[in-house]
Symmetry: C2
Subunit: 347 residues, 2 copies
């Protein structure tokens, strides 16, 4: 294939390359005679010209592309976020490209370094891994601003958009306590970022205030994935001092929990109350519908993009930490603790 260049159009139209460039520039045929414009457009269409971004990008070191880095493209949490970001980016004239790190440190570093070497306009970072800091250095070396979502990064000079994890976890835990539960288990995960850590803290502080002792509640740490929720639940529900209520730290964990609960034929909420952080697909179709703490993902994504756009406009503004509120959405998977359950269950 012969790829058509501006020079080819210039020859065909009998004008200079500069003129072709002017005609084809997005600002429209500024300062070019209508007749010349016409000839250029015609030649361009006839030859099948396709503009090449690269040279301009190189000269001006600025492209209208925002990169978003997620750790698991299959996770509905991230896809909802991506969609919100994409839509807002489109409004502002930016394209969004998504990079999946698959929870792989190495891929995350490659992703961030590539975005740096590609000189994108900005990055939304929704994945905090062990190699994030190295990648952040790369981005900062070339002056690309970063907005983190989901987790804040206090030691770094970046903007962050998060939710009030601690308060939401407290509220969910207090809801369980209010129903009479005392033996409550939380399935949590590694606190690599701030958000998981805060959720666990919210849980613990609610229990502490209610005077629940360390030997009464259970903290089970998984890896935030479906399988880990499944396995930990199997373990929790088959131990003699099984909990009467479960608090799950994220959506994939919840999905695994539900699979285990179904397999063990545990009745929800009669034998077990479940409250989950993050909404899940088909929550309303489940029996019973799953109660959740729902984060306002669309707003978070849209806000993160706006934050990035402002940052681009004013690189020297102080860093912002924006906190949204989550909503406790009760749908039926939690209920009063049942005395008979403790006696009958497990036989």
């Amino acid at each position: 294939v012969k790829i058509i260049k501006i020079k080819d159009i210039a020859e065909r139209a009998g004008v200079s390359a500069a003129t072709v460039s002017r005609v084809l520039s997005p600002e429209g045929s500024a300062r070019v005679s209508p007749e010349t414009s016409r000839k250029v457009f015609e030649a361009s269409a006839n030859l099948g010209y396709e503009p090449n971004n690269l040279p301009a990008k190189m000269r001006f070191n600025r492209s209208k592309v925002i990169g978003i880095v997620v750790s698991d493209i299959e996770n509905p949490f991230f896809t909802t976020l991506i969609r919100a970001c994409e839509s807002e980016a489109h409004e502002h004239g930016y394209r969004l490209i998504v990079v999946n790190t698959d929870e792989d440190e190495n891929k995350e570093l490659i992703a961030l370094k590539s975005l740096a070497s590609e000189r994108v306009a900005g990055v939304i970072l929704a994945s905090i891994g062990a190699s994030s800091s190295l990648g952040l250095v790369s981005l900062s070396n070339v002056g690309i601003p970063v907005v983190t979502v989901d987790n804040s990064l206090p030691d770094w000079d970046v903007d962050s958009v998060v939710t009030n994890n601690r308060a939401a976890s407290r509220a969910a835990t207090e809801h369980l306590l209010g129903l009479g539960h005392r033996r409550i288990a939380m399935i949590t995960g590694p606190s690599r970022g701030s958000s998981i850590h805060e959720r666990t803290e919210g849980f613990l502080s609610a229990l502490r205030e209610a005077g629940i002792g360390k030997d009464e509640f259970i903290i089970a740490e998984g890896d935030l994935r479906e399988e880990s929720g499944y396995l930990l639940t199997k373990g929790l529900l088959t131990r003699p001092d099984r909990p009467t209520a479960l608090f799950t730290v994220n959506n994939l964990t919840t999905m695994g929990v539900l699979r285990a609960v179904r397999e063990l034929e545990v009745e929800v909420p009669d034998q077990l109350s479940i409250i989950a952080f993050d909404d899940i697909p088909l929550a309303l179709v489940l029996e019973p519908p799953q109660s959740v703490i729902a984060q306002p993902l669309r707003e978070i994504g849209a806000y993160a993009v706006r934050q990035l756009v402002s940052r681009l406009a004013d690189p020297d503004a102080p860093c912002a930490l924006t906190v949204f509120d989550s909503t406790l959405t009760l749908r039926g998977s939690t209920g009063a603790v049942s005395d008979s359950f403790a006696a009958t269950w497990g036989e």
Copy 2:
């Protein structure tokens, strides 16, 4: 921020830019003395150099980036596909960038033109919209190969990876017929691409062979989204001649169907059998577990990437259409037609 260039490193290390480039090139410090290499690496690290891809990309018109275009990033079908592609691309040394068109014609055109103007190595197209053809012209103008997945594009010079939609639909329909159902409804969608069309055809041909008349079955055409599945199901299940079995054409439609069925408190499979094209999240947790036709998405994605890589290696090979088989996975949402149901239901 002062962005460090090769020239800066050269000055600091007391060598030429060419030498710096040689040291920093991925091939390793070929033909450079160890001492010089050391000095260059040191200067590079001290100054915080971040390589710039753009010039090389421009000169050689070839980047190690594959773009994948999907119409709905929130759809688990696409995210599973993306993950498979990403993983295979990584194996071959390519990065994958995802572009979401949000089922918007305009965004699809922008997406394809941008990938063209960015000169990516190849494109995997999982979204067939009204403006696909214009975008395909752009890609072809600059010699970027395209592999379509999910739909074939017989009129275009592209490779395609699809599944045997017709046969799978036939098998699902025959399964329902075998259970005694005759009044079967299919909720289908617009046949913009080949796959939806073929699924509908498979359904129809099975019915035809079974001697089911045109006045017995029902075809309801939605738009493949959750809400349309929901609304159409509400309509179908409240009409006097309601079907005893439902065949849904894709995953989002199924999710809407299930929501409607739950709301109407219809018993599955006693009052209604449901078989779905595409697997859905939490299928095993539903009551009853949802029976589906599962496409081998991981294999399809991996194969599509391999196809693209071969195409890049041999641009003149004839176009290939690769067909994978889907699997009918029965889990409990279909059952024998119940005579009592017809009498009692609806009162």
